[in-house]
Amino acid sequence: MVGIVLVSHSAKLAEGVAELAGQMAGPDVALAVAGGLDQPGRPLGTDAALIGDAIDQAWDDDGVLVLMDLGSAVLSAELAVELLPDERRSRVLLCDAPLVEGAVAAAVAARLREPLDTVAAEARGGLAGKAAQLGTAPAPQPAAEATPAGPAKPSADGTLELRLVVHNALGLHARPAARFVQTAGRFDATTTAENLTTHVGPASARSLNGIATLGVLQGHEILVRASGREAAQVLRALSDLAERDFDEPAAAETAAAAAGAEVTRPSGAAVLSGIGASPGLATGGAVHLRAAQLVVPREPAADVAAELARLDAALAAADRQIRAARERVASRPDRSYEAAIFDAHLLFLTDEALLAPARRRIREGANAADAWDTAVTEAVAAWRQLSDPYQRERVRDLESIRSQVLTALLGPPPEPGGPREQPTLTGIIVAAELTPADTASLDPAVVSGIATAYGGPTSHAAILARALGIPAVLGLGPAVLSVPDGTPLLLDGGRGTLTLVPGAADLAAARAKAERAARIAGSADRLASEPAVTSDGTRIEVAANAGSADDVRRAVAAGADGIGLLRTEFVFLTAADMPTEDEQAAVYADIAEILGGRPLIIRTLDVGADKPLPYLPRDAEPNPALGQRGIRLGLARPDLLRAQVRAILRVAARHPVKLMFPMVTTADEVRAALDLVADARRALAVAGVPVPAEGAMETGVMIEVPAAALCAPALADAADFFSVGTNDLTQYTLAIDRADEAVAHLYNPLHPAVLRLIQFATEAALRARIPVSVCGEVAGDERFTALLLGLGIRDLSMAANSIPRVKQRILGIDLVAATRRARVIMDQSDGRRIAQMVDDFNAGAG
């Protein structure tokens, strides 16, 4: 585990930064400081000897990262390193990262047992979060200073040029490269890219091989040239893509690296150590996964047309398999990015850099398998020349594709999902290495772990193992291949170890570790999942608002009784194309699964013209908040609403799901939307798709426009429930945009006008005997809980992290007292007086 040394002129600063970083580092990361001078009063300054002592203190054979403030701190640190013994010097890295952000980022990476280089890279990236928050570009790379990425410039011959600096930690490796190629391929232009830093290229921007072999690493500058009809557009799109760091999540996959080594411990059990690529404990017997031997025939073929057709058919078959594998991974919650690994594979299948030579060989008389094999072999050879290990890893991807296409050409019809025979494998899979397709085809229900001889933490197999939740240790070395089938194994994907024939003590220790983890999780669950009951015994439903599957997981962990508001915008805003009914159904089903039977209220899409969707061109509106949004958009674009409603209906057939419409202002809108729901339900039922019985899926409306609150009795006739969105209701009632700093201070959900609207809508719901909940911020503010309950609200929905506080507050509320108090409060006409009374009530008998 890499140690960290913090050097500052100021002892206080060094210790303060250590305190901050220590929170992230946990107890295991060695963190030492060298601040100020070792003299009375700790005067400002830096001391090479103190730095040397700190390096000794933080010493770890994995290395030590030194972060410094400025000026003499750097010189003193350099001198301190010079004074170290030779064998240590090479394992100390002086890092140019910013001290505070760098220390925090480095602490996290060190704790994850990242290697020294990765810890340093994380530290250097420490400013990214701040830059994103402040909306400033990351600090320009040296290469960018001379020629900043910017508007395309025409060159002498009329082609347009664009210079980009790649900030991604791993450079343009397969997935960012795939996004690059996909984007370039969308436009009618001849586009090339050249690595200006290494003077490699130019290569076609439409060839994944071409782009990947440019060997673009972090900080490299690339020159993109485009000519043709849409030259300007392609450059703008690529510039935008680069701005988004090629759509790669900031914390790209990295994992601890350690050499494969065999250690024999006193207990006698042999322990192989490798790279922990996917955490978790697994026990089971060894099951070897041996590659089916593919013998590529080299005989020439006579019929060129037939061979070309065979190749096309095999490419199509591989395409189907990859899409199927992609589905398996993508259908797991929030794994769309990992699934994109397969997009790179799909691009290989259409990459002219592979297809052109393969077809040429066929025309020269080779058979399809031989031609494809040779073409891939040549591409692999080019990739192996690359100096960067991350790029070399991509050879695995290419070989995965090679064998998939070869199997389609030569083998028996493959099992769906992989080139290898896939019996139902149970136990711990042992293999030389796994292709992404192999990994995706493993069933996490029966495969308990993965152990491979080769492969790195950034291999796509590793990423997919994490996505599938299968513990994995890679790079165990060839020794693992001689482990006999059925050998009992104990695999620790966190520590990166594989114990052969574990003894009782090993198993007990592993079991204790797993139980401890479960116990900690369990006690937290018990505390959080206490039902919220008022002091007089009334159960209050405390649900969470959510805008992603991760939110839902957090809500469950926080003890939410359900999801009272699922905002579905995330499904639409993150997609490049309109999400299909199937895609939406998969997302909602995942969320329902996470909830495990807890109720889920799904709100249909609520976007205004202020959040344009790339696939839904709309005219700009002068005032999007008052424009075509919520149900207004849904009714204006029934195709959009219908797909979403159908997806929700499908999920509602199997889960307790309710549907909710946003931005309703009239009962007519509700009736029109309900008609659409009824039609969609009938159409699905006719097509044989399971749907809820007629009227069985409760359908409600948001009360977030004053008109809706004032028409609540009419709406209550049409809808099955209300949910009061107090944020928008407050803004629309008070005519205040909270984002407008000049008036934001006037925003007050306790304004008597807002409270009266809530009260009026609540009473309408109670009279109509339909449930009413509150899902705005006031629901999550325990100061307002007694007032809301006093008004008759019994369901609340809030941000997950508010749940414990609100539940605690509910335990102390007596409903009779709260109702009496609410009546008094509702007679007030002054917002400040109301706030005072609310506070007094909370402070009093409650």
Binding site: H9, G36, L37, D38, Q39, P43, L44, G45, T46, D47, A48, A49, L50, G71, S72, L75, S76, E78, L79
Partner: protein, 212 residues
């Protein structure tokens, strides 16, 4: 006549005295373009060196060890960039003179050259960057060329002190490219560099003590 341990000890003492006498001046120079601590820092370091050497009245000893001890003390006590820079200077000189009881003129020249090279390497500064290097590099070059022309060490160190002073004065119009002063950019021009000034004091002290 070779340079003795005693003379080197006296050089260090004379440098400490010069720094103490010019503490306010150096700090004033630093106030104009830096963080106003060069005089205070260097004085703290050199006083610590004196404390460490204590009442060392030995006539003989390991000159290399003496210089290394000066260097290590400065590294831990100066605090500013002068710590690692002067520390490196003395450590490298000490390495060059390791185990020696006395130094020939050529030994002095090569020890000085090693020390100056160390400072250049540590600070990554070149002549013209408005740093110590502007005084030290001409001084080391002057010693070498004077010795090559047949001068004795006294004359060579005299030329070195003159060259250091000229180099120091030449920093006045320069724009700083290293250190805290570089933050001032063009506004650093018009001020003499405090590091070059203390370096001149160092070479002048050598001319006063090592030749006699």
């Amino acid at each position: 006549m070779p340079v003795t341990y005693r003379q080197v000890r006296d050089w260090v003492g004379a440098f400490a005295a010069a720094i103490a006498a010019n503490k306010e001046y150096l700090t004033e120079l630093d106030a104009a373009i830096g963080d106003a601590d060069h005089g205070i820092n260097m004085n703290r370091g050199m006083q610590a060196v004196l404390g460490k050497l204590g009442a060392d009245e030995s006539e003989q000893g390991d000159i290399g060890a003496l210089l290394k001890s000066v260097g290590m003390t400065l590294v831990s006590t100066v605090g500013g960039a002068g710590g690692p820079l002067y520390g490196t200077f003395f450590l490298r000189m000490g390495a060059s003179a390791a185990g020696r009881q006395e130094l020939s003129a050529a030994d002095v020249a090569s020890a000085l050259a090693a020390g100056v090279a160390g400072v250049r390497g540590r600070g990554k500064a070149e002549p013209g960057d408005k740093t110590m290097v502007d005084a030290l590099v001409p001084a080391a070059e002057a010693v070498e060329s004077a010795l090559a022309d047949g001068a004795d060490l006294g004359a060579a160190l005299g030329k070195a002190a003159a060259a250091a002073r000229a180099g120091m004065e030449a920093t006045i119009p320069l724009v700083a490219r290293k250190g805290r002063a570089s933050y001032l950019g063009p506004r650093s021009a018009g001020h003499q560099d405090p590091g070059a000034t203390s370096s001149w004091l160092l070479i002048q002290a050598a001319a006063d003590t090592l030749a006699g």
